[in-house]
């Protein structure tokens, strides 16, 4: 029998917090600023794009305490059970001085108006703890989710490069107190289900995955929240009523990554950041793609399962997973079924998920050694931008140089992530030559009728999508000349 408690418990900076009054849609930022008068964290956009509200959240992953930057504006308080929240107010250096990150920012003129600055400091703090002497690429990656309108970033970069000369990570309070905090968080994770509120203001934090499955079977239209990078905006932007909310980001049973027989299985609660490590090693082309999903804070919160389950036609993981032939496991109660991922997406806003059912895991085949795989994302701004069009390609050539098989899937080109079957058919069995590719490029109109919106016109989507096939071909041919523009040269 699952124990139930009626309060959310977490650590806030140096303080134990237990809240029995929490609205299901109460954001961490509102909690900090309004309830606690901790006003160092700012609201710049309330949608997880600008990073002015960045705080660190520490949580136990396989028993190890990991701190990650998150956007407090779209993080719900209800999702913080068993976590350590660290805000800008908690930063301090030795003997009353500024923290090394802060002092470097001061000395290198990293702030002008200062409004975004606490967020930058927190992002750099998170980076510094993991990587005290980061390369520029790592700094830029850590700052993808932080907008500054004044400095042009150059001064912030100078500061970021210098932080390690201001102090040692080992002396940082979070490092010093790591064991104590780990112990506290371990105690907070008591295996209880948390239920708070009544009627239209309810939130539930399941004890484990089985508990979650049973809650889904009994609740009417619950809102499942993992990373809240999407649902957060339903609240802050659309003021939607999301009760009852079931928080699942903490469920260890959904946070596993395993590999067996060339199949990487990713639990639905695995974040982009957590998936990156395995996927970028096993399927290297996915590394740079995942690096361009949201900003660091969003990747630390958002989950692979959420990216699939929300059914968006512009999610970044479904097209490459479909091209790779991934399958999806859905669970209802104790019953599971596994379907090809592409069949999950039925139409815009409609997925093959029954009431009470949830996405449990996605299984991604590692491409065979003799195949060629690539995924390309097209956006207005290179990083932290939502896809205009995304193409993924998996090619296997026969010994005679003809196309034995090719799977092509796109996002942003239709109401769902979708295969380019006419293009595939035009290529299959043909010699893998530029002429064949050019012929296949004429087939896109049979597969796609893209829309015009604020991200791109239909004409551009079509043209760029077609040209991605040419890029794929060119890259498969090797050669010295660059095929893509690159921000950082691969070492």
């Amino acid at each position: 029998m699952t124990k139930t408690r009626n309060e959310i418990r977490f650590l806030l900076n140096g303080e134990d917090v237990a809240l029995s009054q929490v609205a299901p849609d109460e954001t961490l930022l509102d909690y900090l600023r309004l309830r606690r008068s901790l006003r160092g964290s700012k609201e710049g956009c309330a949608e997880g794009d600008c990073g002015a509200c960045t705080v660190l959240v520490g949580r136990l992953t396989d028993g190890k305490l990991v701190y990650e930057s998150v956007n407090a504006c779209i993080r719900f308080v209800g999702s913080l059970d068993g976590c350590h929240v660290v805000t800008i107010e908690h930063l301090r250096g030795e003997a009353g001085k500024l923290h090394p990150v802060q002092q470097a920012m001061v000395d290198f003129h990293g702030s002008q108006c200062g409004f975004c600055t606490p967020g930058f400091v927190m992002s750099l703090y998170g980076l510094w703890m993991k990587e005290p002497k980061p390369a520029d690429a790592a700094i830029e990656k850590a700052l993808q989710g932080n907008l500054c309108r004044c400095t042009g970033y150059e001064a912030i970069m100078r500061a970021a490069r210098a932080i390690s000369s201001y102090g040692k990570v080992a002396k940082d309070p979070l490092a010093v107190e790591r064991a104590a905090v780990t112990e506290k968080l371990t105690v907070l994770r008591d295996g209880s289900r948390v239920e708070i509120g009544a009627e239209k203001h309810r939130l539930i934090v399941p004890a484990d995955v089985d508990d979650f499955a049973s809650i889904l079977e009994s609740e009417q239209k619950p809102t499942i929240v993992a990373g809240s990078t999407d649902v957060g905006l339903w609240v802050t932007k659309h003021m939607r009523d999301i009760s009852p909310v079931v928080f699942i980001g903490h469920l260890d049973g959904l946070r596993t990554i395993s590999e067996k027989d060339g199949l990487v299985s990713i639990g639905a609660g695995v974040t982009y950041t957590e998936a990156f490590e395995t996927l970028s090693k096993r399927i290297p082309a996915l590394g740079p793609l995942i690096d361009r999903i949201g900003g660091e804070q969003v990747r630390n919160m958002g989950t692979i399962g959420g990216n699939i389950a929300n059914g968006s036609p512009i999610g970044d993981t479904p097209p490459p997973f479909i091209a790779l032939g991934a399958t999806l496991t859905l669970r209802k109660g104790k019953a599971r079924r596994t379907i090809p991922l592409e069949e999950f997406f039925i139409a815009y806003g409609k997925q093959d998920r029954q009431p009470g059912e949830f996405v449990e895991a996605v299984h991604v085949p590692v491409p065979a050694k003799d195949s060629y795989f690539a995924a390309y994302k097209i956006t207005k701004r290179r990083d932290e931008d939502i896809t205009a069009a995304l193409g993924a390609f998996l090619l296997t050539l026969a010994r005679d140089g003809t196309v034995a098989s090719i799977r092509i899937a796109y996002g942003g080109m239709a109401a769902t992530p979708k295969r380019a079957r006419a293009v595939e058919a035009a290529l299959t069995g043909k010699p893998w030559t530029e002429a064949a590719v050019e012929a296949a490029m004429t087939k896109y109109a049979e597969d796609f009728t893209p829309l015009t919106d604020m991200r791109a016109t239909a004409e551009y989507r079509m043209l760029a999508a077609r040209n991605l096939l040419m890029r794929f071909f060119a890259e498969s041919q090797g050669g010295k000349a660059p095929i893509q523009v690159s921000r950082h040269r691969v070492a």
């Binding site: 160092g40 794009d49 800008i88 409004f115 932007k237 760029a464 095929i483």
Partner: protein, 786 residues
Amino acid sequence: MNKHASPNLKAAKIAGGVHTDQRHDSAHKHVAGTAVYIDDMPEPAGTLHVGIGLSSVAHGKLKSVDLSAVRSAPGVVDVLTHADVPGENDVSPSGMHDDPVFAEGKVQFHGQPIFAVIAETREQGRSAARLAKIEYEELPGIFDIWNLDPEKDKQVTTPLTLTRGDAAAAIAAAPHRIKNRMKLGGQDHFYLEGQVSLAIPGEDDEVIVYCSTQGPSETQHLVAHVLGVPSHAVTVEVRRMGGGFGGKETQANQCAAIAAIAAKKHGRAVKIRLDRDEDMTATGKRHDFAIDYEVGFDDEGNILGVDFMFALNAGFSADLSGPVGDRALFHCDNAYFYPHVHAKSAPLYTNTVSNTAFRGFGGPQGMVGAERVIDEVAFAVGKDPLEIRKLNFYDPMGAEGERNVTPYHQKVEDNIIHRIVAELAESADYAGRRRTIDAFNANSRFIKRGMALTPVKFGISFTKTESNQAGALVHVYNDGSVHMNHGGTEMGQGLHLKVAQVVAEEFQIDLDRVKITATTTAKVPNTAPTAASSGADLNGMAAQDAARQIRKRLTDFAAEKYQVPTDQVVFLPNRVRIGNQEIGFNELVKQAYLNRIQLSAAGFYKTPKIHWDRAKGRGHAFYYYAYGAACSEVSIDTLTGEYVVERTDILHDTGRSLNRAIDIGQVEGGFIQGMGWLTTEELVWDDKGRLRTHAPSTYKIPLASDRPKIFNVALTDWSQAYEPTIHRSKAVGEPPLPHGMSVLHALSDAVASVADHKICPRLDAPATPERVLMAVERLKAEAAGK
């Protein structure tokens, strides 16, 4: 840093005088989260909050406005409409009476405020605002200017014409003529701190408004106007803004007015803070322009005559569109001499949000027009655009020639663009890299490189003459510490720091003895907005004036008390030499106080020399010019239009900089902001006139990873202001922004490579990857013979 340490009485120099690198005065608070912005201030007990009700159609009559559900929603205290405005329902900054606080009878753009919910919490106010039932009789709307006739269609205010010589005849007689049009997009300010005001009611008709505004005096006057009270009843205060960029020059006034109305009506403090989407939807932006140009030139590429029409999208009201259009014309020459020129502006009415000031204030748009013309000429005569630029520069300072008169008949007397461009071309190795790029392109099928070097000449002064005045208030307390106040506002640019350096320099005391205080209309009245890059020029002078008055009194006092001539009273670092003895500054101040010497002074400054006759289009519109140049190199992907900026070098002139560290930050930040404007920042309206890019998820300002991979910024170490500005420094707020043009032209250069540099790419802005790819496709098709 121990602020209470005794001053060093043996120092050779003060700590923190002018021409020294100092950190932003609030940096240590920025990084700690302890710098207080309006929304961070502790609210008075009982503070109410505002949710704003916006129009859901772009143009229409208000048939019925049913707010009953709003009023009965939880936490709602009141709902304000135009009927609740005690004074005039208008916040027009230009006296045009065309900017209602709340729409009355009709709405003129999607997102126009119609009502304000006053509620116990902000969330309750926002939720309730969505319950309004409003019926509109929709009217046809104009949502862009591309198909408007700048000569005939409705304008929001009087346009400007500049004429020198006979452009039509010169163009007609020229060996070559080109006529075309450029589309140039607008830009959202995207200050990280959105519009916010906190109004606290006082006795009688008084109210104090804490407002994130660049123009506290104007906010004060408009709040008084809206409340129907004298200006003396209203105090506006701002310690700092979380970014402004022109977006809080006039756009802060509406929120301030709403908060003040509600505060006076209910006798409670009222705070309004717009959500990001509301802010982007309901407040004005940089104007988008349609630039029609015709240029006549000779075989060498000498420009003989130019005719410009600068049509700008004013939106539904005048706001500052008149002067923005004017400044576009003032900069349609950039750094080039036009022997014959005719240029007109057309601030066109549309059913979109009323566009406003944005760093550069039309100037960058004018310069972009000039650079397009240069490109056209360069491609037509088959030369590197840099050659055409150099060929057409104004004469250098000191030259005897006549190629130094602007289209508004001001003589350019301080031109240093030749030296700047020469030094930059050298340090950036323009010629060598040009060869490298050509070789790269010859061997690269899909990726093409491009490079451009663009100059900047930016006119410094408000063209509205009365704005070129400033006041300051300086107190010296009897312990020798100094309280400094002036009319300028801090939005991150380090203005307060620079002015404090000026005051420290005058008194010869360490910078930490000078207290920076919030800008308030109660201390310095009738100030200009902090805009037009004028902050340090104007307020530095006013503060210097105040400090000098006090120093003179101290000098006279010391001379009398110690019986020495005044020229034997010398202010040394933290001390004063009087005859043969030295005493601490603090000691002298103490003695002066005991002898009843006034230790407070109001300072004042007005810019000399300038005048401007708008009707005639003639005058000495600018006190001086700031110069600079930028060289950028890009790579583009001809399959997708994606690009990266490989390298940017900038050499910029800030005269004898008051604080190079601050100025470098302005140049770096200004460039990136200008680059964003011309590349990824795209405002998209749909066919109903709704802005679709109203949040950072859809509106893309540059990130750290959009910086040039190599980014070299330098200030000229040899220039000084030609006029006696504050310590011969030059303004730096706006002039670096147009350096972003170097990226647009580098992209254009890369695009041109697909047609062997034979066809002018006419790359419009913002040059998103989509526009780059479409330009590549167009040039490939044209090169192939269509």
